[in-house]
Amino acid sequence: MGNSKRNWTLNRRTALKGIGGVSLGLPWMETMLWATAKKDIEPAPLRLGVIYQPNGINPYEWTPEGTGDNYKLSKTLRPLEPIRDEVLVLTNLNHDLEKGPDRPTSGHYGGTSNFLVGNGVKRSMGSDIQAGVSLDQLAALKVADQTLLPSLELSTESEHTGVDTGERITQLYGNSISWLTPSTPLTRERYPRLAFDRLFGKTSGLGDTRSVIDMTLSSIQRLARQVNQNDRHRLDEYLTSVRSLEKKLDYSQMHQRPVPESLIKDRIPSPGEAETHDEHLSQMIDIMTLAFQTDRTRVATFMMGRSSSNIDFSFVDKKCEGLHGMAHHVGIKEKLEGYQIANEYTVKKYVEFLQKLHAIKEGERSVLDNSMILYGNNMRDGNSHSSANLPILLAGRAGGQITSGRHIEYPEDTRLCNLYLSMLNLFGLNISSFNESTGELPGLS
């Protein structure tokens, strides 16, 4: 860097001007953030959210009776009652169940990574992991430039770091449902406070960070010229990630409007671990709600547990224990009961998210109306690991493009990727296929 006084050395004064300037003058109406600022210029944006739950469900209590808008909610889905008009229950969707031994599509680890991809994952002990670009990341690509973060990835548990020597597969497949590239799974934020700060944190000292970014970028580039193809790939990942940070800073300096204090005042999570799992889930749901409401991102995925999660559910009911333990109930009555309660609880948390989004108005509609919020699990039966006919719910109307409030039963073994293809096109992508899709999923509108 021969010319040291490059653009990054924008001095304090300029930086202050930049930050101070935007914070002035824009009046905020708390409940109608989007509508106030932009409603006359363009329609409200679409959002895509995914709530993922591991370890399957009790298959006998999931599927509702009857189809169409007059279906009868099943036991597990009963919590949907207050908001059933906003939700589609989709039956008989799943990924290709068999792609050969070297390409698992189900099971705890492979199934998790495959959930939003639908291409199977490469059976790998870690040296050559591979899945495909996931639903959320393809959507995020479309809107990446329009928000602070292209997408938000949240979770509740720390990552698996081992290998399963029996299955000859690395457990890191069990950590994320989001794949940025076919070989780059995204790590997820599990600390509510850090997720919050990332979206709404103070941006003072941006000048510093920008210069550091610049220096880092040039050192990566310099280094990339000296290493082999493989290593360059890794450095590229680093470069791309640093660029995304740069974009985030750009965006926050150029376009972003501050969030009114009153909106977030009592919603800042305390640092570190959440006190209980229930609180953890609620905090993350609230953060996603805020992120959608303030248009900090339009794509968010939340893993309520990692694959084969053994979170203790006894806080819901004393019949419950570790989730994975209950999922493998082998027909034992007490375990199955606990499992059932946990299933219902999970649906309740999904409903909690939907209701929050539903309560926020954007012009004539609600944020939920302008969203597609998927609920899903990479297994149907947690006991047998069966992955046919996955439990799938889709809430929101995609800005009026979906007619919700129905139970749709598709032919057996309908590709889940068909739903993803439709969702992506509703999101505005205009593509003809998505991984193993065979065509768009009919009947959504």
Partner: protein, 1040 residues
């Protein structure tokens, strides 16, 4: 029970435990082809229809294997062939043409022989090396060693990918994404805010973020550093009050003065070091003794001084052939006298009877001599009162001095035996009650002799100065049964005693003065000088740095310039919003025309002062830049290259122009260093060729430290690497041994063992059900984890046999864990090593942490435990149960059946039994331990524990003892192979390949030849080909 066969075929089952002969046959290619031809005919007959190049069912194509190496490269596939054939899964049921038993045996044993007998040594390949990112622990440890502060900077990072041998340091699985990079940037920013950068001293880190300093507070801080520096040493100086602090100096200093009155500095220094004394203090003592004669008219010129020093001067005068006993006497005398004057000694109570006078009387002595000297300072007011002076007989009888016959009284003072001179009775002030005592009032000088009755063995009295004395009184008293001379002048043998009032204090002060003068006690002038003399090289460097720092902080040239500006009424230029001086560059740029308004003379001065100020600023910047570069070397873990020097320099200069503050500018540079790939990745130079190259010394230092410490190399390693000595086998070996002993090798327990053995899981996912096991507390969990860590660390640090992992006579316990284990006699919360008395515990098999990690929340799982033993300890891989499995649930759910009976449901089925026959018996032998690791004799359902595991061979394992025995004998080779394989995987941080087998085998041999010591394996790995070599960029692989 039904099994979906196509599904079973889909997962690849590896079911052999791999045991190797120590030597391998070197079958040449022709031999191989000959035997392979026979095997091919079997494969062609039964297998090739589905497993060919066009239709490779299950990913298996038998046509692709042409030469021996092809088979080795795809080792895992061939292991699965063994398994599928042995279990009868392949060929599938529906195929009619099936191999007979002898064909099966032939095929399986041929595969085994081929794998076993392959000459692994013949393949030299260091393996694929991937650019490695620091994982979370490595990042934490590296930051700790880089800054000296344990920030736990990576605590909010996400976990790292597992791969290869199952460790989270596996490079291949560690991708990078935006969230992670945001965290790197945030961590770098946070860490850099803790940096304290100083001109003179370099870069240090505080556990708190460092405040922004104004030039003035910076200057004050620098001054404080200097006083802190001296205070640290002054605190270490001998204290006047502590005799033991100066005593050790006396005799060595005296001896050196006698032997070598004109000793060189080196000699003085060496002697001090030899006696573990501070050289500076020793130097002072030495010179004061060697020059005492010269100084007796000055420094020692007082009544007290002479009294103290004269015996020494006398000895020094006849130093030729002095006797060691003389030296001893004189040094003790010196000690005694100086000690006498120390604060807190008896002289303070001198107004009353406060000092003991004693003499031992020999059996046949007949006379007692009592001398009272006047110190040679005139005898006015000199007297002493003895209270209850008495002799004691052997039978305990007491006779008062007044009752003994006074043989002689020399001296012209008075002697009162009945009462005080004023006629009052002998009543001591101390007795208070006015009780009348026996007494003796003697005026100095006097020598009294008394006749002793037979059988006296001691004389004693308490003495004081009362009534007529004043502060000038001072006496010396001595009692003995041997004849003593009349006390004229000062006596070297007598006790010293002073009158009340200020005199004792003065005496003490006098000594204090001499003492302080001698060694520069306390903060008095001279202390610094003395400290300066005692400094070692390193401290001297520090002191120089602080002095330089102060000089820089004073900013004299800059101040001069600014005060000139002010003086010439350009003060308005100085006004910034916070009232601080602006940056030099700011001022210079702001108003270049300013000097034009000045007179020629002033303008000259302006220019001269400005130049001086700028030059000074340049020097200071240069210092900071140098510190940043040496910090960068630590960050990069290698010497900084020229172009990087340029970048860092530019960055610093640009930053300082931007932020006006060298601290902030330096912090920014530090921040930018910590986000560079050179810090976050472990980058090794890669040659352009097509071969493998020896890694350079620096890379080797890094490989070593990340293997053994999970952290950056320390200075020793880096120095050796820079000197190019690390590749030397003996240097390498001694370094490995040093590193294993270093506290940092605890990482082998925390990172390697906890993942290999899996006890890390009790901290996260493996949680016993609190409803069933209320005694399993967080504290107990932590103790269990600590036990595992400490036991493994003990094996590493004490270089014990790795077989202690299987069984050991000791473990580490605290009270709660000992209670949990039902072991008596361990009290308190701290973990300590405990000898084990029974066979239950010892080794990881029966350790609480392992037993919890291999149980279900509510009960034990013989299957999980058996699987763990197979998988982790002896390397027998177990496939997961087939999917879509339909079990006879009535049996599994029947609680009245024993666990063994329920599990028999598995084992009666052929497909299940393939694996369960191997797992279950091992697990059953641990049934005496419940799900939280307590020893028990009854199961959850109340039935007696059946801890017998029957192996397929018919061998019975009798409980944990039987299991340990079985593993340590029959399965010893498998265990050794496994630990070597896992260690190598951890050391290399990549998936292992077939050719790595040679290192594993060499490690096993080395373990066997060296009493299974951990170091033997570590050394073999460190010296191995893959650890020392690296593929070049164009490396041609052998076709995988």
């Amino acid at each position: 029970m039904k099994i979906n066969i196509s599904c079973l075929a889909a997962w690849i089952c590896i079911g052999v435990v791999w045991v190797f002969p120590e030597s391998s046959l070197h079958a040449d290619q022709a031999d191989f082809q000959k035997s392979y031809a026979e095997i091919k005919s079997i494969l062609n007959k039964y297998c090739i229809d589905c497993h060919n190049s066009e239709q490779h069912e299950g990913g298996l194509d038998f046509e692709r294997y042409k030469v021996e190496k092809d088979i080795l490269i795809h080792l895992q596939k061939w292991f699965s062939v063994i398994d599928q054939v042995e279990t009868g899964v392949m060929p599938p049921e529906e195929i009619e043409l099936r191999p007979n038993a002898s064909e099966k045996t032939k095929l399986v044993s041929w595969i085994r022989t081929t794998i076993n007998d392959f000459d692994y040594e013949s393949v030299k390949d260091p393996g694929k090396s991937t650019l490695r990112r620091l994982n979370r622990s490595e990042y934490n440890n590296t930051v700790r060693d880089l800054t000296g502060v344990d920030f736990n900077a990576a605590r909010y990072f996400s976990g790292d990918g597992g791969g290869g041998e199952g460790f989270d340091n596996n490079a291949e699985g560690m991708s990078i994404h935006p969230l992670m990079v945001e965290k790197y940037f945030k961590a770098a920013r946070d860490i850099s805010r803790h940096a304290v950068v100083s001109y003179g001293e370099g870069i240090r880190f505080n556990s708190d973020p460092s405040p922004t300093l104004t030039p003035r507070s910076y200057h004050l801080l620098a001054e404080r550093k200097l006083s802190d520096f001296y205070n640290d040493f002054i605190d270490m100086l001998p204290k006047y009050d502590h005799r033991e602090d100066f005593e050790p100096y006396l005799k060595p200093a005296m001896r050196l003065a006698l032997v070598s009155p004109e000793a060189s500095h080196q000699e003085i220094y060496d002697t001090a070091i030899k006696h573990h004394l501070m050289p500076g203090v020793f130097y002072k003592w030495y010179t004061s003794f060697a020059e005492a004669d010269k100084n007796k008219g000055s420094r020692w010129n007082s009544q007290f001084g002479h009294w103290v020093i004269d015996p020494w001067i006398e000895l020094y005068g006849k130093r030729e052939g002095f006797a060691e006993t003389e030296l001893k006497r004189v040094s003790e005398d010196f000690t005694e006298k100086t000690h006498f004057a120390k604060s807190g000694s008896s002289y303070r109570k001198v107004a009353g009877p406060s000092m003991e006078v004693k003499a031992e009387i020999k059996e046949n002595s007949t006379v007692l001599f009592l001398s009272v000297g006047d110190m040679g300072d005139g005898n006015e007011y000199d007297h002493v009162v003895f209270h209850n002076p008495q002799v004691t007989l052997t039978d305990g009888t007491v006779v008062y001095l007044g009752d003994l016959e006074l043989i002689e009284h020399q001296g012209n003072g008075n002697l009162y035996r009945e009462q005080f001179p004023d006629g009052q009775p002998f009543v001591s002030a101390a007795s208070g009650e006015g009780e009348i005592e026996h007494g003796f009032y003697i005026e100095a000088p006097a020598l009294l002799s008394f006749k002793l009755p037979a059988g006296v063995n001691a004389f004693n009295a308490t003495m004081g100065m009362e009534k007529t004395c004043n502060e000038k009184g001072s006496v010396q008293v001595y009692a003995s049964d041997e004849e003593i001379p009349f006390p004229e002048g000062k006596h070297t043998h007598a006790s010293f005693f002073c009158g009340p009032g200020e005199t004792p204090l003065k005496t003490a002060m006098e000594w204090w003065g001499i003492y302080a003068d001698l060694i520069g006690y306390g903060r008095r002038p001279g202390a610094k000088e003395m400290i300066d003399v005692s400094l070692g090289e390193q401290d001297k460097g520090r002191l120089d740095a602080i002095r330089r720092e102060i000089q820089y902080a004073q900013r004299e040239p800059i101040k001069k310039f600014f005060s000139f500006v002010e003086e010439k009424d350009f003060g308005h230029l100085l006004k910034t919003k916070d009232g601080e001086m602006p940056a030099l560059s700011d001022l210079a740029n702001k108003d270049r025309s300013a000097p034009c308004k000045l007179s020629e003379e002033d303008q000259k001065q302006w220019n001269a002062l400005k130049e001086g100020a700028e030059e000074f600023q340049g020097t200071v910047d240069e210092e900071v830049r140098t510190h940043l570069l040496s910090f960068a070397e630590k960050v990069f873990r290698r010497p900084v290259r020229d172009e990087e020097v340029q970048v860092i320099t530019d960055t610093y200069r640009a930053s300082i122009e931007d932020v006006d503050d060298f601290q902030k500018a330096a912090q920014l540079v530090i921040q930018s260093l910590l986000t560079r790939p050179q810090f976050l990745f472990r980058i090794e130079h890669e040659g352009p060729g097509q071969d493998a190259q020896l890694v350079d010394d620096i890379a080797l230092a890094n490989r070593l430290s990340y293997f053994l410490w999970s952290s950056m190399p320390d200075e020793t390693l880096m120095e050796l690497a820079k000197e190019g000595r690390l590749q030397d086998d003996s240097v390498l070996e001694s370094q490995v041994r040093r590193m294993l002993k270093d506290p940092k090798s605890m990482s082998l327990s925390r990172e390697f063992a906890s993942q290999w053995l899996g006890f890390r899981k009790i901290l996260s996912e493996k949680k016993p059900d609190p409803k069933i096991f209320p005694s399993y507390t967080k504290q107990l969990e932590e103790s269990m984890y600590q036990e595992a860590i400490m036991v493994f660390d003990d094996i590493v640090k004490q270089d014990k046999s790795v077989l202690e992992i299987l069984d050991s006579k000791t473990t580490f316990l605290n009270e709660s864990l000992a209670n949990h284990y039902n072991i008596q006699g361990v009290k308190g919360d701290h973990m300590r090593q405990v000898e084990l008395k029974d066979d239950h515990r010892g080794g990881f098999l029966s350790m609480g942490s392992m037993l919890v990690a291999t149980s279900f929340p509510g009960r034990t799982s013989p299957v999980a435990r058996g699987q763990w033993i197979l998988d982790a300890l002896i390397g027998g891989k177990v496939p997961p149960p087939p999917e879509n499995l339909e079990l006879d649930e009535s049996k599994l759910d029947n609680r009245s059946l024993s666990k063994k009976e329920r599990l028999a449901a598995h084992r009666n089925n052929f497909s299940c039994s393939v694996c369960h026959d191997r797992m279950d018996p091992l697990g059953f032998s641990l049934e005496n331990f419940d799900a939280i690791g307590r020893f028990r004799s009854k199961q959850e359902n109340g039935q007696a524990v059946d801890a017998i595991g029957e192996l397929k061979s018919g061998q019975q394992l009798q409980g944990v003892k039987g299991l340990k025995e079985y593993l340590a004998t029959t399965k010893k080779d498998s265990f050794l192979h496994q630990i070597a394989q896992k260690s190598l995987g951890f050391a290399l941080g990549r998936s292992l390949e077939y050719y790595d087998e040679s290192v594993i085998r060499a490690s096993v041999i080395s373990l066997k030849e060296n009493e299974y010591r951990f170091s033997a394996m570590a050394l073999t790995i460190v010296k191995s080909y893959p650890f020392r070599y690296k593929r070049e960029q164009g490396y041609i692989t052998d076709g995988k």
